[in-house]
């Protein structure tokens, strides 16, 4: 299949790389090539310093103290929430709930919305592209309440079977849980069109945007979904940061997910009244420093520009696809074009298990993911136990792709294939 090769980038990658000290590290004597960004991203100095400043200058628990440190930390935390809201164009900061990661976000919706809204016999529609984080919570909810889980297939290029999706939505659905971008194949789903279709069928729509928000501009009002979740650690922020966006009207009607401190307005020995949005969903001391780090990461991404980042990744994808397709014995899974995708390329080398390939790549200083990518149903659909996955971000270069390709040749030489 023909591959469009883009060669231009508008990013000043050398300048960006200077912000990421870890990229200077050496692994097995070679400068590290980090191509596992779909698992987690590296962090720029600006994020590390923003977090360090909290600890060194004004650390105190948020929403509690009536002294300056607490007030300053609370202000920084709530400013981070405002940044998240602006970043995804949420109509209100009240609709942004901080969670540890996308997984916790999906679970929040599955428990706090799902258990009161999904009943016996209801249909939950999802896809084979989902990460386990947006699959297992729904599978278990369906089991618990006696609902039906409908899993939409992909075609041989890893594109969602829209015909099947439309047919299943027409049969009725209470919820559509869908990923915006596949972590296993890089496929981007046209979530705006799909959400409109799902709403017409009466379904509530949750979008797993863990692989989309870090890489492309995401506008929740444009997508017109009902819930959207993402993780901070995949977008230059620390692990422990992430967010759920939900429509205010839905969030208002939902019961809390976790009970405890900070999520209450009044507690007596017999009853409790909940705090207002979004704090109703933020029980206990939150990972406020991580959230502040997420705010700093958003500043960084906005300064570079999401569109430029996405274009840069597509250039890298095009370059990598054309290089991999030229190597005998290499099979690429998923879309072979740069249209509607993010910077994820899954492949295998004939005769070499992905774990063996990744171990040899590691000797060459190249970090990729080998495995099932928390995507068992998708691996089963592809008919492979695992794949080798290279995932790119704003700091990756074409030279690094060449290092990966050299490592592929090295693995083939070692295995004599």
């Amino acid at each position: 299949m023909a591959v469009t090769v883009r060669t231009a980038t508008t990013l000043d990658v050398a300048r960006i790389r200077a912000d990421f000290p870890i990229l200077e590290q050496r692994v097995n004597g070679k400068r590290v090539v980090y191509l596992d960004n779909a698992a987690t991203s590296q962090k720029p100095r600006q994020v590390l310093e923003a977090m360090q400043r909290v600890f060194e200058e004004h650390n105190a628990n948020i929403h509690r103290g009536v002294y300056e440190f607490s007030e300053r930390t609370t202000a920084a935390f709530e400013e981070a929430r405002a940044k998240v809201a602006r970043f995804i164009n949420a109509p209100s900061e009240r609709e942004v709930i901080f969670v540890r990661n996308a997984t916790e976000g999906v679970n929040l919706v599955a428990y706090a919305w799902g258990r009161d809204n999904i009943r016996r016999g209801d249909r939950i529609v999802t896809t084979v592209l989902e990460h386990h984080s947006d699959f297992v919570p729904w599978q278990q909810l369906a089991k618990d309440v006696g609902a039906e889980l409908v899993v939409i297939d992909v075609d041989d290029d890893g594109r969602l079977r829209r015909d099947q999706l439309s047919a299943e939505l027409r049969k009725g659905a209470k919820l559509l849980a869908i990923t915006q971008a596949s972590n296993g194949l890089g496929t981007v789903n046209p979530v705006r069109e799909i959400a409109a279709e799902a709403h017409a069928a009466g379904a509530t729509v949750l979008v797993d945007a863990a692989q989309a928000v870090p890489h492309t501009p995401v506008d929740v009002q444009d997508l017109a979904a009902d819930f959207l979740v993402f993780s901070g650690h995949k977008m230059l922020a620390p692990p422990g940061s992430g967010a759920v966006w939900g429509r205010e009207a839905l969030l208002e009607r939902m019961r809390p997910f976790l009970y405890g401190g900070d999520m209450i307005s009044r507690v007596t020995v017999t009853k409790t009244e909940w705090n207002e949005l979004p704090w109703k969903f933020e029980a206990g001391t939150s990972s406020y420093v991580d959230a502040i780090g997420l705010g700093a990461a958003i500043d960084y991404l906005c300064a570079v520009g999401l569109r430029a980042i996405h274009d840069h990744e597509l250039m890298l994808v095009a370059q990598l696809l054309s290089r991999l397709e030229a190597i005998p014995g290499v099979t690429v899974y998923g879309p072979r074009t740069v249209e509607d995708r993010v910077g994820v390329v899954s492949f295998n080398i004939e005769g070499i298990h992905p774990h063996d390939a990744a171990t040899i790549f590691d000797r060459e200083g190249v970090c990729v993911r080998a495995g099932h990518h928390c995507n068992h149903p998708l691996m089963t659909r592809l008919g492979v136990p695992a794949t080798t996955r290279a995932s790119m971000y704003l700091y990756n270069t074409v030279d690094e792709l060449d290092r990966l390709v050299d490592a592929v040749h090295k693995a083939k030489k070692v295995f004599g294939v």
Binding site: H355, R363, A370, P385, A386, F415
Partner: protein
């Protein structure tokens, strides 16, 4: 340079010894590593308390398959008690390569299936519901 992928490891991977079905097997056990998709079935024919013959079947990474191949060579002719006494250190020593922490499960799937067969297990203790 590639410590883990020495010639004899790759030779065992590409030309596994004692590979296939075992006719008249008295003991057999199958297991897998869901994390990587490695699969192994270890089959023994025990007569008079000795391993008369052994075969394994499976697919997966070079480490898991070479480990199984090497292990089958090791146990042929041994008594069942000797087989039951084989431990992880022995399997890793027989492999003779440095195994990184992330790959230990690959290297030891052979031992797990061998133990399951030798002890006549139908399920691994603690994993009965799997």
């Amino acid at each position: 340079m590639d410590d883990m992928y020495r010639d004899y490891i790759l030779d065992h991977y590409k030309n596994p010894r004692n590979f296939g079905e075992l006719e008249g097997a008295t003991h057999s056990y199958h297991d897998s590593n869901p994390l990587c998709g490695d699969e192994l079935t270890m089959s023994l024919r025990i007569g008079n308390g000795h391993v008369d013959d052994v075969r394994f079947q499976g697919k997966g990474c070079a480490i898991s398959q070479a480990s199984a191949s090497i292990l089958t060579e090791e146990i042929k002719g041994k008594t069942l008690d000797e087989v039951k006494a084989i431990d992880r250190d022995q399997v890793l020593a027989n492999l003779g390569i440095p195994i990184s922490p992330a790959r230990v499960k690959c290297a030891l799937l052979s031992l797990k299936t061998l133990k399951g067969a030798a002890w006549g297990l139908t399920a691994w203790p603690g994993e009965e519901k799997k």
